[in-house]
Structure formats: structure tokens, C-alpha cells
């Protein structure tokens, strides 16, 4: 896969990974999140190795992978409560407000199993909003979302970046940020 890769993400910036299938986009995101160990090289957070920081680093990140990470037998509200408990809670937003922001108002108590794939993806995105994570690591966040949903989620990502947040993401969708957002594009197929 890729080699000799070096980059830095600063507050307000988003890293967008591009490249054909199998070029290592997901692997790189998993390495950035600390789930996977790199074969060589290191990932630094504020100048410190993330594998040494462990949970201290994890409280600053939110990871959205291919799988939503929600329990289908729980309701959206219960799922969010657990997500919030596992991370560092963001206090300026309630769980209901987070659901409202992703367009799931009224679905608080519906079993997640009964929601559509797009709604389940929205719930996974709501998980990003309820913790105080500064770095969002997003692997194909727009999967199963309709066009309106995608636009709506882009606004949420913009708001996160404007708050001084950071993002690292892959997407096959062309991101249309309305406002001035600093994007770092890296194409892994060319490495």
C-alpha cells in the first residue's frame, strides 16, 4: 500500500483521502484512530505518540467506520447515551438535540433495527455530535444517505471545522463545502 506519507492536520482543517479501491484509505484511517498499528512510522497528537497516549488520545477523537457501531436492539437514544458515556461528553448539546440535528427527531424510542439504512447512518453521525471529540475520523460517512441528507451532513461537518475541529475522511462523493474550509487532499493511488 502507501509509503513515505507525511502530513499534519491543524484545527479547522480537513484531510480528504482519495484513491482507488484497495489503495489503503480505510487502513490509513484505522491507523490514525489507533485501532491498527502502522508497519512503520508514527502518528503524533500534540507531538506525542498516540499509542502511548491511549485513552488520553481517544477522548479527543470520534471514529465512524464502515460499520455504524450502533446496537440494533437498542433505541437511538440508548445508543447515543452509551456513545456519550464512552467518550468525553459535550455539554452544550442534549442527546435529543443531536438526534434532531441529524433529522431523527421523533425516532428516539424506535428500535434501531426498524430504521432504514440511511437513518441508521444518520444515527451514527449523531454519535459524533454528542462527544467533545476534536478530530473526526470518517470512513465513507455518506454511505446510504440521500442527496439532501448528504448536504445536511456537510453543513454539520462545516460547523465542526468552524468550531476549531478537525476531520480526516474518505469519500467517493464530491464534497461541496459552502464556506471556506481548508482541505488537504491526499491521493493514495499516487504513492
Amino acid at each position: 500500500m502507501f509509503e513515505s506519507l507525511a502530513f499534519a492536520i491543524n484545527p479547522g482543517q480537513a484531510l480528504v483521502l482519495e484513491g482507488r479501491n484497495g489503495s489503503g484509505k480505510t487502513s490509513l484511517l484505522r491507523i490514525l484512530s489507533g485501532i491498527r498499528l502502522p508497519e512503520s512510522g508514527q502518528v503524533l497528537w500534540d507531538g506525542k505518540d498516540i499509542f502511548r497516549l491511549g485513552p488520553e488520545f481517544h477522548e479527543h477523537i470520534a471514529y465512524l467506520g464502515h460499520k455504524d457501531g450502533s446496537k440494533l436492539d437498542l433505541t437511538p437514544l440508548e445508543n447515543l447515551r452509551i456513545a456519550q458515556g464512552l467518550g468525553k461528553a459535550r455539554e452544550e448539546i442534549s442527546l435529543e438535540e443531536a438526534l434532531d440535528q441529524v433529522g431523527l427527531y421523533g425516532f428516539e424510542d424506535v428500535p434501531t433495527r426498524n430504521m432504514s439504512a440511511g437513518q441508521q447512518r444518520r444515527l451514527a453521525i449523531a454519535r459524533l455530535l454528542v462527544t467533545d471529540a476534536r478530530l473526526w475520523i470518517l470512513d465513507e460517512p455518506f454511505t446510504s444517505l440521500d442527496r439532501k441528507g448528504i448536504e445536511h451532513m456537510e453543513r454539520l461537518f462545516e460547523a465542526h471545522l468552524k468550531r476549531g475541529g478537525m476531520a480526516a475522511m474518505t469519500t467517493h462523493h464530491r464534497i461541496g463545502f459552502k464556506e471556506e474550509v481548508q482541505l488537504i487532499r491526499i491521493n493514495l493511488s499516487e504513492r
Partner: protein, 227 residues
Amino acid sequence: MSTLSLTSAFNLLLKRDLVLAYRRRSELVNPMLFFVLVTAMFPLGIGNDPKLIEAVGPGVVWVAALLASLLSLDSMFRSDFEDGSLEQYMLSAHPISILVLAKILAHWLVTGLPLFIVAPLLAILLNIPGEAVPTLMLTLLLGTPVLSLIGSVGVALTVGLRRGGVILSLLVLPLYVPVLIFATDAVKTSIAGIPTTAQISILSAMLVGSLVLAPLATAASLRISLS
């Protein structure tokens, strides 16, 4: 901006797993049903020789408990692995070993504790004398958590494999042997009317040892399985 205390995170996860188990009640009775059925088959197979049944009774109960525990192990991390929840635990702001301990405790409450509760019934079925029943229950109370704790390491290592069942048995059953030996010996000694302090002490030591070490080993194994 606040991080939950470790205790509340532990409780949150414990409660979550118990709620999930409750919503899938049908799966919940499986290990206990297996335990009761296997044990009930033995007197039928052996025939109506009370002496013989009494002699094999403790061993039968414990082997059935071992298999029931093994049967239920796979469910400990399987669904969390498949829906991506496991990744979210690994990336939690809390030490993984503590979260893992909550999951093991929930698993034991759901699958191990029922075995302890039905044990007196099986004791009657297997002609185990009344004086030895408290010892049998005590061995189950001390021994089944050890099975869950040791088993969790095996499950964590095999959760990424599509057909981990056989490997899991090969990995975990040999480690169950000490529990089996001391627990059945305690019950037999108790039937003979001899104090069982030694066996119970060793079982307690196994519980304490695995309580300390197993969550750490499980956390490390999960990290390997996910990367």
C-alpha cells in the same frame, strides 16, 4: 465537557449488556436449558443404580457446566464485533480492560448465575446428598466466573475468525481443567464428610487471579483481533 468516572462507565456498559440480553431473552435460556438437559440425560443413560449415579454426580454437573459455559462464550463479543461496537470500545476514553470486565460480568450474570441457581435441582436428580449441596453451589459460584473470565481471553482471540468455534474449544477447555478438578473434588470430599477448605481456597485463588489477569489479557487480545 466531562468524562464519566470509571465506575459510571462500567455501570453504563453493564446495564447496556443486561438490557440487550433481556431484549433477546430466548438466547438467554439456552445455556441453562443445555445444562439441565445434559445433566438429566445421565441418570437415564446410566440406569437406576443410585450408588453409581451418586459417584459420578459431581463430575456430571461440572462437565455440563463447563460445556454450557463454552456454548455461551461465543456470544460474548460476537455481535459487538459484527456491528462495529467493539471498535468504539477500543476508542473509548476509558481503559479497555475495565470495559471488558463489565462485559464479562454481564455475561456471567446472564449465563453463569442461572447454573448456580438450578444446581440444587440437579443435585436431587443425581442423588447428591443434601449436606454436599451447599458445597456444590459454592463451587459453582466460585468456579463459573473463572470459566467466563478465562473464556473471554479465548473469545477475544478468535472473534475475528469466521469459524472460531473449534479453535475456541481447543484453546479454552485445557485451561478449564484445574477448575474442574478442584470443584468436583470439593463436592466429592464434602459427600465423604471431610472439610473442603483446601479446595475452596484454591478455587477462590483462581477466581482472584483470573479476575486480575483475564481482563488485561482480553483487552490485549481484542486489540490484536481488531488490527
